[in-house]
Symmetry: C2
Subunit: 270 residues, 2 copies
C-alpha cells in the first residue's frame, strides 16, 4: 500500500466528489487518482448510518483491490458515518474525510457566525456544526439545508439570474446587508457546491470567507502525504473514473464538477 | 388475487407516488391500499432499464406476498421500463402504469402544443412524448426537464414567490403571454408534481389544461376495476405504508404528497 506509484483512491456516492478530485489534482499534479462514484445507490444522505457504512466498505474494497495508497472519502455522509469503520477495516491505509478539513478551516474564521450550506441530511446530522464548535465554541454556527442546489449544480446552472435567485433564497436572512447574522464564513458543506463559489462570493461580499471543503480537504491530504515523503513528484499522472451506474450521464454531467470534459468512465458492480 | 377484500398495491421509488395513492383513495374511498416506496434505492431515473426492471420485480413481489388484487406502478421510470416484465411475471394481476393515462388525457387536449414537465430521465427517455404522439400525431410535444422540482416538492415549498420563480424558470418560453408555443396542455409527468398544480394553474392561465397523471391514473384504475365488478363498496378501508429506508423522513415529508399526516411506516428490506 505504500508504493508511491500507486494511485490515491477517491470515492463519493456520485459525481459531486469530482470537485474534491479536481482540488486534489491541483494540489498534487504528479499524482495518479482512481475515483469511484456509487451512482447506482446515490444519494447516501437519505440512507441509514448502517447502510452508508456497508456501502462505503464495499466501495473502499473495490479501490483497495485496484491498489491505492490513500483513500479520500469525498462524500459528506460517508465522512460522517463511515470513517471509523473504514479505518478499522484498513488500519494501514491513510484515510481522509471531507468534514474535518472544512470544519477546521471554518474554525479559523473571524469571530461571529458560520453558515453551513449542505444537504438536508448533512445539516440534520449536525456533523459540521459539532466539528466547528468543538474547535471554536465561541462561534455561532447555522446549518442551512439547500436541497435544490444539488439538482441545480447537476443542471449546469452555476451563474446567472436564476441561479442567483436560488442562492439568495437559501442565504435569506444570513447575508442581507446589516443582518445581525451575517456570517464571517460560509462553509460549502456538500461536494456539489464548489461550482457556486463565484456566484456566492459575489452575493456574500468580501467580508465573508467562503470555505470550500474540496479545497481544504485537498490541502490536508497533500500536506499529510508530503510529511510522509509519500508522493510522486514526476511522471505522467493517470486518472481513472469508475461508476456503478449511468456512465453516460456521469460523462456528460461530471465535467461540471471535474472542470474538464470526461472521456471514459468504467462501469463497475458493487 | 381476485378476492375483492384484498388491497390494491401501489409502488414507487420513493414518496412521490403518494400523490397517486391520494388520487386512488379519492376515486375509490372504500378500497384498502398497500404502498411501497423503495426509498433505499431511489431515484430510479438515473438507473439503467435492466436495474429498474429488477427493482420493480422485487417491489412487486413484496406486495404480491401481502395479497394484492391489482398493482399500480406509481413511478414514471418503472412505468416506462418495467410494465412488460411485471405483466409477464404476474399475468393474472391487473397492472397499471402512470404514463399511458396521463398521455391519453393530454391527447384529448385542444390542437396546439403539449408541454411535458418531468424529471431529466423521463424527458430524455421520451416516453410521454411518444405516447402522446402515437395518439395525436398532430400535436407538438415539448419535454422540459425540471430537476429542481422534486427537491422543491419535498421541501414543502408549493406556493409563494420562490416556488413561483422556480416554476416560471421551467415554463420560460412556454407560457409567456403571446408565446407561440403557449401550450394547450401541461402534463405533470412526475408523481411529485401534482403539489404544484394550484401554482401552475395560476401561472399558466385558464387556457392551458393541467393534466395530472396521478388523477388520470386513478380514474383509469377505478373504471377498470369497476368494469370487472371488482371493488369494495363498503367497509372500513385500511392503508399500509412500507418503505425500504428512511421511515422518519418518509413520515415527515410524505404527508405533503398524501395530503394527510402519516402515522406509521413499516421498514421492509428488498
Amino acid at each position: 500500500m505504500n508504493d508511491s506509484s500507486a494511485s490515491i483512491g477517491v470515492f463519493d456516492s456520485g459525481m459531486g466528489g469530482l470537485t474534491v478530485l479536481r482540488a486534489l489534482q491541483r494540489s498534487m499534479p504528479h499524482e495518479s487518482f482512481i475515483y469511484l462514484g456509487d451512482t447506482a445507490r446515490l444519494p447516501y444522505g437519505s440512507k441509514s448510518p448502517g447502510t452508508v457504512q456497508r456501502y462505503a466498505l464495499q466501495a473502499a474494497r473495490i479501490l483497495v483491490e485496484r491498489d491505492i495508497r490513500a483513500l479520500v472519502v469525498a462524500c459528506n455522509t460517508a465522512s460522517a458515518f463511515a470513517l471509523d469503520a473504514l479505518r478499522k477495516r484498513y488500519p494501514e491505509l491513510p484515510i481522509f474525510g471531507v468534514v474535518e478539513p472544512g470544519a477546521a478551516a471554518a474554525a479559523n474564521s473571524l469571530p461571529g457566525s458560520v453558515l453551513v450550506l449542505a444537504t438536508e441530511s448533512t445539516v440534520a446530522g449536525g456533523v459540521y456544526q459539532r466539528a466547528i464548535l468543538r474547535k471554536r465554541p465561541d462561534l455561532t454556527v447555522h446549518g442551512r439545508p439547500c436541497p435544490l442546489l444539488v439538482a441545480l449544480a447537476e443542471e449546469g446552472e452555476h451563474e446567472g439570474a436564476f441561479c442567483e435567485s436560488v442562492l439568495r433564497h437559501y442565504l435569506h436572512g444570513h447575508v442581507n446587508a446589516g443582518s445581525i447574522s451575517r456570517p464571517s464564513a460560509i462553509v460549502l458543506g456538500c461536494t456539489h457546491f464548489p461550482v457556486f463559489r463565484p456566484a456566492l462570493e459575489r452575493i456574500a461580499g468580501a467580508d465573508t470567507e467562503i470555505v470550500d471543503s474540496a479545497e481544504t480537504t485537498a490541502r490536508v491530504v497533500a500536506d499529510e502525504l508530503r510529511s510522509k515523503q509519500d508522493g510522486s513528484t514526476e511522471g505522467q499522472p493517470a486518472v481513472r473514473l469508475l461508476a456503478t451506474d449511468g456512465v453516460d450521464r456521469f460523462r456528460r454531467v461530471g465535467g461540471y464538477f471535474l472542470g474538464n470534459s470526461i472521456d471514459e468512465v468504467e462501469l463497475v458492480d458493487l
